[in-house]
Subunit: 79 residues, 2 copies
């Protein structure tokens, strides 16, 4: 059983409204040293060892379902 | 300028509906080897070097705003 982590985040040029909201809220609470906040998703799951070439399969999962590759990029960690 | 990453995820006992949806969708698409999917949030921001004791400050941010500590736990990485 392999532990898979997929980190999905908006591409740099895309406006991250959730990040802007977090940044504004933190600054409003007095943390003026906060900048460039971005909010992403982290998807974790177990993958059966019977799956051959896990990296390629997880990449296919990302392209098919987990990430909207028009505006999001992703990073895969398999442990 | 320190890079801060905060990973927020639901506590183990809490039903993760988004994770269940991802798991069901992946299995429905033919990836039957997927199990225990969980979806969390990853918040990244820059923190000014003028902030003393960054770890404690970020912990306060999490408890105040970034995580709902009743149902969520968090992990802080400062690089």
């Amino acid at each position: 059983m392999a532990k898979v982590k997929v980190h999905v985040f908006l591409k740099p040029g895309v406006l991250d409204v959730q990040g802007k909201a977090v940044e504004g809220a933190l600054q409003g609470l007095g943390w003026s040293g906060v900048a460039n906040a971005r909010v992403g998703k982290l998807i974790e799951f177990d993958l059966d060892d019977a799956v051959a070439d896990k990296e390629a399969e997880v990449k296919r999962m990302c392209d098919t379902l987990l990430a909207n590759t028009v505006i999001e990029s992703y990073r895969i960690e398999i442990a």
